[in-house]
């Protein structure tokens, strides 16, 4: 597989290249840090439910495995 000139003939100037890099988000990755989400409202409630679900499941699994073993 070879990069043919046809593959980049649409890039003629520096501006074309910059537009390509921006549209493809090639370098945007490190530039935009992800901020921590604010946990409030129904999301907070959902997290509480998930924690309870996990605790119940872990206890059940522990008891179940004791039974299996």
């Amino acid at each position: 597989m070879e990069l043919k000139q046809d593959d980049y003939k649409f890039i003629k100037t520096e501006e074309d290249w910059n537009r390509f890099v921006k549209r493809e988000k090639l370098l945007e990755y490190a530039a935009k840090p992800v901020k921590r989400a604010k946990i409030k409202g129904w999301v907070k409630f959902a997290f509480v439910v998930i924690r309870i679900y996990i605790i119940i499941m872990v206890v059940l699994v522990f008891l179940g495995f004791l039974h299996v073993l």
Partner: protein, 481 residues
């Protein structure tokens, strides 16, 4: 002067690059940008992605029918891979047991129903990848903190490692049909996955994996060896018949089939794979098409296995109380007895392929997730030495799985049960994070879920959460349902 092809991982492109970064721009006039110089300025993984994307953009700009066709081919990959890899060795065995126990009936239309279920869930990972350019593990870690990030990562890595054990069991059993001893079978499987993972950059890795995935289709022509009653197959869609009514075994098998259709690793795999491929919002439509095609292939393969075993192994009037009485050895012996050794060997080939494609995908999924969470370089475009931190977690988990399979008297049934239980604990959290992230307008903007998306996603997720919870409980307390 060095050759680009000689410095990077299996890059067959041969563009001369000067040591000072100046490219072979003799053919270009002074007004043109020096593409080689620009590419040489990028880090190796991004450079290789840029080359792939140059080709995609060029095809998109070209309006000929051939270019449109080549563009479709260029943009397929993660969707088909994730869905085919979902029909892993454990999945093939589950479908074979289901068909053997319940025959041709309820589970055939049920698998058709799984197409939109799998699609709705996986489609959200496409948008997340295209918009955020980050993997699922990284988004959870950075958006919801260290606790949930490490919880998700630990669950994923443990579940993936144990799932790899089941893939090696499938590979070992399948190769055993061809007379290969377990130790050699494990070595062959390990070497094959190692070769695919280590030898190719992303584009070629994806193409090689698609070739492996293609052999998963072997189950479809096998249906014609079985000579099923097509009238019965057609009537299954109208009746959704359950042969012995709603029994505890039926619920158990139903939950197992559902658990096989959607697994937590799939969310992580497709999002990371789309990121590594370079999917941008402009490609979302193509990525959706890729995923729906993959979901249809997944269902077609599952239905084929159900029809084969429902025709050849299912015994009408014989009520079964335990899935364990229909193990894969018994099922294959019945297939041999009914239609001979060649179809059995093709079935075994399908089982080996299912184990291999899943092992390739799961190994990559582990590497991507650990790399994303730890902030390491994370791309299959990376040469091994530069990306050793990225490759090692996946390869190490595969090595552990391979060794476990070879330990004499290891409780493989217990390990299989453990992986299913871990997945059932992890599933609700993974689903919740997916829904939260894809509704987060701060990061998703106009690509956030709409009302219709959310209604479908919430219904499916509530069903999956309830079913996976019930399945987890039923595995450790078999008498409860």
């Amino acid at each position: 002067m060095r050759w680009y092809a000689q410095t990077d991982k299996n890059v067959l492109m041969r563009i001369p690059i000067m040591e000072n970064g100046a490219g072979a721009s003799a053919a270009h006039n002074s007004q043109q940008v020096d593409i080689n110089k620009k590419l040489a300025e990028l880090p190796v993984d991004i450079r290789l992605r840029a080359i792939d994307r140059l080709r995609v953009t060029s095809l998109r700009n070209n309006k000929t029918h051939l270019a449109k066709f080549l563009l479709i081919l260029a943009l397929i990959g993660p969707g088909i891979l994730v869905m085919v890899a979902d029909n892993d060795a454990g999945g093939v065995i589950t479908y074979a047991q289901t068909g053997s126990i319940f025959g041709i009936g309820f589970f055939i239309p049920f698998m058709i129903l799984m197409i939109p279920v799998a699609y709705v869930v996986q489609e959200m990972t496409i948008r997340l990848a295209a918009v955020t350019r980050r993997g699922h593990a990284e988004m959870i870690w950075k958006r919801y903190g260290r606790f949930w990030g490490s919880f998700s990562l630990a669950d994923l890595v443990i579940a993936n490692s144990l799932t790899l054990v089941t893939e090696f069991i499938g590979i070992t059993f399948g190769l055993g049909i061809f007379g290969v001893k377990p130790v050699y079978a494990v070595l062959i499987g390990f070497a094959f996955v190692l070769f695919i993972t280590m030898s190719f950059r992303y584009h070629n890795w994806e193409r090689a994996s698609l070739v492996v995935a293609f052999f998963n289709l072997v189950f479809i022509p096998l249906v014609f060896f079985a000579k099923p009653d097509w009238g019965l197959v057609a009537s299954a869609f109208g009746t959704w018949k359950v042969p012995f009514g709603i029994t505890p075994l039926f619920i158990y098998v139903l939950l197992a089939n559902l658990g096989t259709t959607i697994a937590p690793w799939m969310l992580f795999f497709q999002q990371s794979s789309e990121v590594d491929k370079g999917t941008v919002p402009e490609d979302i439509k193509a990525a959706r098409r890729d995923t729906i095609v993959g979901a249809c292939i997944m269902a077609a393969v599952a239905i084929s296995i159900l029809i084969i075993t429902g025709t050849l192994v299912f015994q009408p009037g014989v009520s079964v109380t335990s899935a364990s009485s229909y193990n894969i050895q018994f099922i294959l012996s019945m297939i041999t007895h009914r239609i001979g050794m060649l179809p059995t060997k093709l079935f075994a080939l399908g089982l080996i392929d299912a184990g291999l494609i899943a092992a390739i995908a799961i190994t990559a999924s582990t590497s991507w997730a650990v790399g994303e969470a730890m902030g390491w370089p994370k791309s299959i475009n990376l040469p091994f030495l530069q990306g050793r931190k990225f490759y090692l977690p996946g390869l190490a988990s595969m090595a552990v799985a391979a060794v476990i399979v070879l330990i004499p008297h290891v409780p493989l049934g217990f390990l299989n049960l453990t992986v299913q239980v871990i997945a059932s604990i992890f599933m609700p959290a993974a689903m919740l994070f997916l829904l939260l992230l894809v509704n987060d307008r701060e990061i998703m903007g106009k690509y956030a879920n709409g009302k219709a998306n959310n209604a479908a996603a919430i219904v499916i997720m509530c069903m999956l959460i309830a079913m996976s919870g019930l399945y987890g409980v039923s595995l450790v307390f078999p008498g409860l349902i």
